[in-house]
Structure formats: C-alpha cells, structure tokens
C-alpha cells in the first residue's frame, strides 16, 4: 500500500463506507418516515461512492483484491477514514451533526478533486459530486432549522456539535502521501480545506444560531491508522459473516 493514490482512494472510500454503515442503522428507527427514507438514500449514495473508491484502490494496488475484500478483510489500523465518521450514533442529533460536518468537508473536497490531474480521481469525484451537493443542502437545511427551532432542539444540536468538534479536525490532517499527491496536483493538502469549510460553517451559523466551537485542538492519528475505540466494534459487526464463513459466495 505504498502508492499515494491508494492512500487517497482509501481515505475517500473508507469515510463513505463507515458513515454509510453507521447511518444505515437508523433504517426503521428514524424520527419520521420521510427522514427514514432520506437518510437511507444518503447511506445508499455513500455506499455507491465507497464502492467506486475502494474498487479504484484495489485496482491501483493490483494484488487481486476488490472493494469487498478491502471492506471486509482489513483491520482497524488499515482504515483511513476520519475519526468523525466512526463516532457512535448516540442519538439523532449526533447523527445529523456528524453528517452535517462530514458533508461540509466532503463537498469542498470533491469540488477540488473533480479538478484533479488524475483523471480517474476526477471522474469518480464528478460522479459523487451530484449527490453530495444534495447531501450538503439537506443536512445544512436540517441543522439550520433545528438550531433555530425549539430551545430543546437548539440545545441538542449545540451539544452534538461540541461533542463532535475535536474529531472534525481529523479531516484536515496531512501526511507524507498527501504531500506527494499535492505535488502531482492529484489532491489538495487536507489542511488547506479547513479555512474554506470553516467559512461555510460560519455562514450557516448565522441562521442556525449555533455557536461554532473556537478550539482547534484536534484528535489525530487516523491518517496513520490510529482510530478511536469504536471503529473496532463497527468492523466486528460489519465483517462478521465474511470472517466467520470465509471463502463463501454470498
């Protein structure tokens, strides 16, 4: 896994995969039927993106693996998703805020990646972009309305934002691979996205009346495969059948 393109593909694919996996657990349990359906849609889109990125990673790696083997047979230290997406669902406010922060990053990232000098990266990003624009609109609108809803909904969203904030920085952590990718004009330095994304969040906060935390002390380590404790449980559940009955066709 030394090719930096693999690093980028895994970063993109794993973020989408893990967030999709987590969101999909709401199916049948969301606060309204419309929300149940909409969140499942987002999960389905993200699963589609994950498949494209992981397939791309497997092709570049060229060791006979595919998207499924990457998803079901890697352990935590090989995952490159940010710490934010692996935070537990907790409640709907946390789930929604996690989605909102992710979408804000994801959209900026895809806008830049769709201009990548790497045509495959650009192609996948352009495909995903159509859906992610909609994801961003949706979570933005919900966060604004709930922030400026009841006192209770405001407080819940603010608490969720505060609790997730230090993991948000995980999207902006640079690595050696990122420097190489940047030199090749494949992808931007992750840290360079922070001011652009923060600008978006600040604009939204005028309407949501939520306060963006000032701290920039971030939880780090995801780019080297150092995750939070929860990722182990997510993978244990997700990979259970493949691990218990290896070499089976499903």
């Amino acid at each position: 896994m030394s090719n930096p393109r693999i690093h980028l593909a895994l970063r993109m694919g794993d973020n989408s995969l893990i967030l999709s996996q987590q969101n999909s657990k709401w199916c049948g349990h969301a606060p309204t039927l419309e929300e149940d359906i909409a969140l499942a849609n987002v999960s389905l889109d993200l699963m589609g993106h994950a498949q494209m990125w992981l397939e791309f990673a497997a092709e570049v790696e060229d060791e006979g693996r595919n998207a499924d083997t990457l998803a079901f047979f890697r352990d935590t230290e090989e995952f490159r998703n940010s710490l934010l997406v692996e935070r537990p669902n907790v409640d709907f406010a946390t789930t929604l805020m996690r989605q909102y922060l992710f979408d804000a990053w994801h959209l900026e990232q895809l806008l830049l990646l769709s201009q990548s000098s790497d045509t495959l990266v650009a192609e996948i990003s352009q495909k995903a972009l159509v859906e992610v624009r909609y994801h961003r609109e949706r979570s933005q609108s919900l966060v604004i309305r709930l922030g400026d809803g009841t006192i209770d909904s405001h407080n819940r969203m603010q608490e969720a934002l505060n609790a997730l904030w230090s993991y948000f920085g995980s999207f902006f952590e640079d690595s050696k691979d990122d420097e190489m990718l940047f030199d090749l004009q494949t992808s931007p330095m992750p840290s360079s996205l922070y001011p652009r994304v923060l600008e978006q969040l600040n604009q939204d906060s005028v309407l949501s009346t939520l306060k963006i935390p000032e701290s920039e002390f971030w939880q780090k380590g995801a780019v080297q495969g150092h995750h939070t404790e929860n990722l182990g449980y997510i993978l244990a559940e997700m990979q259970y059948l493949q691990r218990t009955y290896p070499n089976s066709k499903w």
Binding site: L17, L33, Q51, D91, F92, S153, E237, W250
Partner: protein, 330 residues
C-alpha cells in the same frame, strides 16, 4: 396477509333491494367495476373497514422494516448491503403511500401511528418472528414478500381508487424484493454446507408463519363476505394460501430444500398440493401480542417515535417562526 383480520361491519352484506337509494347506487358502481374516489359518497361501514385494512397494511410495512433492518449492518457484501438497505427503505415508502391513501378517508397519519404504538392497531403476525441468520434475508424476500404479492396483485383492482393506485406502485417493488430474496436463497442453497444448513433452517422457521400470513380460513366469515361485496377483499384466504403453496413447493424443490411438512404432496386429482395447516393457536397468540418479538417490535417503534419528538417539534417550531416572519414582512 398484511391485513389478516379485518373486521368489517359484522353483518352480512345487504341485498340490493334492502338498500337505500344512495347505498344501491354505490354498490352498483362497485359491481360495474368503477372506482370509488375520496370525494364520492360512501357508506360509513365501507370507510371504516377500509381504514382498518389500510391501517393494518401500512403498519405492517413499517414494522416489517425491523426484522430485515436487523441484518443491514451485517450484510456480507457491499452489494448485498445496498440491495437490503434499498429494500427496507422501499418498505418505508410503502408505508408512506398507504398512510397517504388512508388519509384521504379522513384519518391522519399521526392518529394511525398512535394506534399502532399503543397496541390498539394490528399488523401482520409474520413480523413478530426473529431473523436469526443471513438466509432469513432470502427467506423473507422469497416467502414473505412472495405471500404479500399473492394478496396485493388482486388488490390493484380494489374498489377504492387511492388504495388501488398505491397497490400498483407497491406491487412493482414487491416483485423485485421477491426475486432478490430468491437470489439469496439460491446463493445459500447452492453454497457451502453451512450456508445450505442456514437456508434449510430458515425455511423451517418461516414456512408456517408464511402460511399464517393469509389469515385463518374465512369462507364462512361475514366480515369477508361484506368486504368482498365491496371489493376491498378479492379472494378468500384459503384460495390464496393454496396458490402460494402451489407456487412455492416447486421452488423449494429446485433449491434442494425440504418444506417442513410431511403431508406436503402433489395431488393428481385436485391438481394442487395437499399441505398441513399452520398452528392457528400460535397465530392467535402472536396476533394478540404474544409472539417471540412482539415486545421488541413495538418497543422499537415507540422508541423511534418518542426519541424523535424533539426533532419533529424543532422542525415545526422553525416553520412556524418562518411563516410568522413572512406574514410580518408582508
């Protein structure tokens, strides 16, 4: 079926000669195969029976998300995960169409939801059984969606317009679900020994509960007679159950699986399969709340509703604020 025990008025259908002029015109319209639309006059019994039936049907779709939802996070491949999630999402959509269709009869979705959550409204007994292995995702699609289709295809011709139209949309998706379920069954039945054992175990557990989906024999029931006169029920329960057995038995054979019924046999004379009745005592227990998962299923729906209250209230408060500020600006 999804509506297994729909009590109608409790009396036999009236003869045309004993009907009022309005009732007679209504019945003749139905007899001519014309649709009843929300604005049309209808007997109170028709409206109430339909509401009960559509409510049960809608609730079944929603509670029906849970047994399969149970496996989304553990689906064995990304493709299977996507298909299953999309399927369970479809069921939420079915619930939504049906609640909307029922709302045209003057009862709100919130009211119907409250009836479900309090345990006053029924939903199909099948969803009170647990899903224990991955083959259950196959068996549910194959058998449960399969049984649902048996009932829902004729309901596309039901007399109430909004219900019939909802059924048309739903049936298209249900036949997808059944094919996807059968596809999982094939993979499991023709897979490793352990996979085949899971498939057989799943069929063993889901066979009789699937037969129960059609409801007890109703050829003598006054409720069914009235519903059939009104064309909100098209076939007798035994008729559909037989059709289901006749369709499913050869499929099980193709899969190399054994249906857990020693009496199951092709009957040359009747040209249909003989089969054993499910245990109706078990059915009545399950439908009245004592099945293996009734408590969990209702608890899950109640939790979703209760935990979501702040969310619904928040959105409502925001839209009220925006409306007020719009009015103020005008």
């Amino acid at each position: 079926m999804y509506a297994q025990e729909v009590k109608s008025t409790g009396s036999k259908p009236k003869s045309l000669s004993s009907m009022s002029a309005k009732e007679k015109a209504f019945q003749e319209k139905i007899d001519r195969g014309q649709r009843i639309e929300p604005k049309d006059w209808m007997p109170e019994g028709y409206r109430r029976t339909l509401l009960r039936q559509m409510g049960q049907h809608a609730h079944s779709e929603i509670v029906g998300q849970l047994p399969e939802g149970n496996w989304i996070s553990r689906a064995p491949t990304l493709e299977r995960k996507t298909i299953l999630l999309a399927k369970v999402q479809d069921e939420a959509g079915h619930g939504l169409y049906l609640y909307s269709a029922a709302e045209t009869l003057g009862k709100s979705r919130d009211e119907m939801t409250k009836e479900l959550l309090s345990g006053r409204a029924k939903y199909s007994s099948i969803f009170n059984y647990p899903t224990l292995n991955w083959a259950d995702m196959g068996a549910v699609g194959w058998l449960v969606d399969g049984a649902a289709i048996m009932n829902q295809v004729p309901l596309q011709r039901t007399s109430y317009g909004p219900y019939a139209r909802a059924m048309v949309r739903i049936c298209k998706e249900e036949s997808f679900h059944q094919r996807q379920g059968f596809d999982i069954m094939m993979k499991m039945s023709f897979g490793s020994k352990k996979q085949k054992a899971m498939a057989q175990d799943s069929l063993n557990r889901f066979w009789y509960p699937s037969l129960m989906m059609f409801g007890p024999s109703d050829s003598e029931s006054v409720h069914s007679a009235q519903s059939m006169a009104w064309k909100i029920k098209i076939n007798f329960n035994d008729e559909l159950r037989q059709k289901f057995v006749d369709q499913t038995a050869p499929q099980a054979e193709y899969l190399g699986l054994t249906i857990p019924d020693e009496k199951l046999k092709w009957n040359e004379k009747t040209e249909q399969y003989d089969y054993s009745e499910p245990n109706w005592e078990e059915f009545f227990e399950v439908i009245s709340g004592n099945g293996p998962c009734n408590t969990e299923r209702l608890a899950a729906r109640n939790k979703a509703w209760d935990d979501g209250e702040w969310f619904r209230d928040g959105l409502l408060a925001n839209s009220t604020k925006n409306q007020n500020s719009q009015i103020a600006a005008e």
